[in-house]
């Protein structure tokens, strides 16, 4: 049986003029690589090209990925228990 997990992603700064919170559903377990592919599938045409890597994932040199506590996330492990995953391109205000 495939178990689906519902969670939120925040995309802040990847789409330059829109900061959004979206609810996604994916079969668990899933890792960051799987999630980024899903994000690019859904929003890739609006995400600025600088933020997409040559491998078709998000460019982690510029895009920071974290859990709600701010802990950085990376590829290669199950992240399906995290309720909200943040993708941000930092802006340092004024």
């Amino acid at each position: 049986m495939i178990c689906m997990v519902k969670f939120k992603v925040r995309l802040y700064g990847l789409i330059p003029d829109e900061f959004m919170i979206k609810e996604l559903t994916l079969p668990e377990p899933f890792n960051l690589e799987r999630l980024e592919k899903e994000i690019i599938k859904r929003f890739g045409d609006r995400i600025h090209t600088d933020y997409i890597s040559d491998q078709g994932l998000l460019n982690h040199q510029l895009v920071r990925v974290g859990d709600p506590s701010g802990k950085r996330l990376d590829y290669g492990y199950d992240i399906s228990e995290i309720e909200e995953i943040w993708f941000i391109v930092p802006i340092t205000g004024g």
């Binding site: 802040y12 700064g13 900061f19 506590s69 701010g70 930092p90 340092t92 205000g93 004024g94």
Partner: protein, 617 residues
């Protein structure tokens, strides 16, 4: 010389005399304008001894070659002096359209000297320049002062900058408010205006500054304007204002919390640019001349205890009056920001001073008897608002806090210096060097004290490149290596921005090559990227020399110990820069001596030979 008016106004408030002087061409060529021109003049004209409120301290208002026409964000004006708050170099600028009008009136700068025996304002309408009686607006809030002077003078499209009651009372964090609510916030230039009894400057200009070739100029302006508009960060700032950075603070750890101690705060969800857009933001009203970014927010609160209309809080205000004080009530943050603008006090220094006082209260160093009965507890909105009023009016403990946290800690003692967060007397802006390591050497060496704009590394650390200066890849924000380098190149570049008197937010899109092209089109002087960066280095080092002459040494190039200690929780917990390594790298690249003076070799290389005898005897 094309691109410049080529002259300045010298206003002696003691005698009431006003003269128009030619500016030497070499000053314009070597120091560009704005803060660079100010440094060249004030280095010669402000004595190294004496109190900051002595009549021989001067105010220098200035623009650059890009002002006065349609260059993006060129409505700005720079103001420089010896800072009442820090005692060292100060420059600050505000947006709106004052700089546009000043240039079109036919002046690159105004030097204000002496002290007036009575409240006056300076009236400039092209060639007509006079001091007028300001008694009708003396004592008024900034909005009333501006309104009164606009009505009295009556020219549509004119500009005015003013001080509020705080500046008049010489509160050392008193600022200048221009056009509507645009602040030259930092360092107390408003207090110096107050000490000179200069309430305001009103300016209207109708001349079109000459450039070598109008067609070339227009083409360059159009190209750069498009580049700024299309830049991805510009679009984010346009959509949600600078406050959008507060929405990311849980992830970046950039915004300080509870006087720079915590790393995590639930209030970021309520106090940020996105939340503001959904609640109190009413219109997206363009407020700065020729700005394609339009980050300013216009807000209205129609009901309840925090009713106001006007400019909404920027990121710095949201952090200083929000997370620093654990205040998660957005409407109250907007109102507190409004009060600061009305009284004419710097929001960063004011929020920092209140946060400092709250910590002193928590530790039992301050008690109710010291605060006129105010419970100065974290997150107490009424206490924050009451303290703003006390600071602005120099009442009770507010009199001390308005002198800045360094002076407050000197008076209070009892270990308060450990949590008085400043560099060289200037309260730090709302960016944490534990989140973006490049802020460390930037704060430690900025010529006006702890400042993020005299080296806007936030636009580069982890996000940007500057190939013209050798920065080809974005750096890891948590790497110490390379941050002395980053601080140096961005400081040099920002010195040119502040001398061209344009907004730092264009720096996300405008490269040194672009800026060289614009300066060439404006002046006819042949600039390239290297020449631009060299001019920035010259200006930065002259300001450094200004401070060295006042006694500043490498011992002053430090960060508060608290910022070299881990936050409690948050994304940067346990992550700290190697500040010593950063500074070593920085000093080597700057070619500064161990005692903090620019080396003779560097001064000669930059054409600053005239400084050598002052620094080395």
């Amino acid at each position: 010389m094309k691109g410049y008016a080529g002259r300045l106004l010298r206003v002696d408030l003691s005698s009431g005399t006003i003269t128009k002087e030619k500016i030497p061409d070499e000053y314009l060529r070597d120091y560009i304008g704005g803060t660079g021109l100010a440094a060249r003049y004030l280095y010669d004209e402000i004595p190294v001894n004496g109190d900051v409120f002595d009549e021989n301290n001067k105010l220098f208002f200035s623009v650059g070659p890009l002002n006065g026409k349609q260059f993006p964000t060129s409505g700005r004006c720079n103001v420089s002096c010896r800072s009442p708050l820090t005692g060292i170099w100060l420059d600050s600028s505000w947006s709106g359209r004052f700089g546009y009008n000043l240039k079109r009136a036919g002046y690159d700068a105004i030097i204000i000297e002496g002290k007036s025996p009575r409240p006056v304002y300076l009236y400039i309408n092209n060639e007509q320049v006079e001091l007028k009686d300001a008694s009708a607006v003396w004592g008024k809030m900034t909005s009333e002062s501006l309104k009164g002077i606009y009505e009295e003078c009556g020219i549509s499209r004119a500009s005015c900058c003013t001080i509020g009651p705080a500046g008049e009372k010489m509160v050392k964090t008193g600022c200048i408010i221009g056009d509507t609510t645009k602040a030259a916030g930092r360092g107390g230039s408003g207090a110096l205006m107050g000490s000179k009894k200069l309430k305001a400057i009103y300016v209207y200009g109708s001349q079109n500054p000459e450039v070598p070739d109008e067609d070339v100029w227009r083409k360059v302006v159009k190209e750069i304007n498009t580049k700024i508009k299309e830049n991805k960060t510009s679009q984010g700032l346009k959509a949600y204002g600078t406050g959008v950075a507060m929405a990311m603070a849980d992830q970046t750890g950039d915004a300080p919390i509870k006087n720079w101690t915590l790393g995590k705060w639930d209030g970021f969800a309520k106090v940020n640019g996105i939340a503001m857009a959904k609640t109190i933001l009413k219109k997206h009203k363009p407020q700065c001349f020729a700005c394609p970014i339009r980050c300013a927010r216009y807000v209205e609160i129609d009901e309840g205890e925090y009713q106001m209309k006007g400019e909404g809080p920027e990121y710095e205000a949201m952090a200083a009056l929000g997370s620093m004080c654990l205040n998660d009530n957005l409407e109250s943050v907007a109102y507190a920001n409004f009060l600061c603008n009305e009284y004419g006090i710097d929001v960063i220094s004011t929020g920092s001073a209140i946060s400092f006082a709250m910590e002193a209260y928590e530790k039992g160093i301050l008690a109710k008897k010291d605060t006129d009965g105010i419970e100065l507890t974290w997150g107490n909105v009424e206490a924050i608002l009451a303290m703003i009023r006390k600071i602005a009016n120099r009442e009770g403990i507010g009199d001390l806090l308005g002198q800045g946290v360094r002076e407050a800690a000197d008076v209070l003692g009892q270990g308060t210096e450990d949590f008085a967060i400043h560099v060289k007397g200037l309260e730090l802006p709302m960016h944490d060097p534990r989140a973006f390591f490049a802020f460390g050497p930037t704060y430690a060496t900025s010529p006006r004290g702890g400042c993020h704009l005299r080296g806007y590394v936030g636009g580069f650390d982890g996000v940007g490149v500057m190939p013209e200066a050798g920065l080809n890849e974005p750096q890891d924000p948590h790497a110490s290596e390379g941050k002395g380098f980053l601080a140096k190149i961005v400081q040099d570049y920002c010195a040119v921005f502040q001398s061209s008197v344009i907004c730092f937010f264009t720096l996300y899109a405008v490269t040194p090559t672009d800026l060289a092209k614009a300066l060439t089109a404006a002046t006819g002087i042949s600039y390239d990227a290297q020449k631009v960066l060299k001019a920035g280095e010259r200006i930065f080092n002259l300001q450094r020399a200004f401070n060295n002459r006042l006694g500043l040494t490498s011992a002053d190039d430090v960060l508060p110990e608290r910022l070299l200690t881990s936050t409690i929780g948050g994304p940067n917990e346990g992550i700290l820069p190697n500040f010593e390594e950063q500074m070593k790298e920085y000093y080597e690249l700057r070619k500064w001596e161990d005692d903090g003076r620019p080396s003779k070799e560097k001064l000669r290389e930059l054409g600053l030979d005239f400084v050598i005898s002052d620094l080395y005897g």
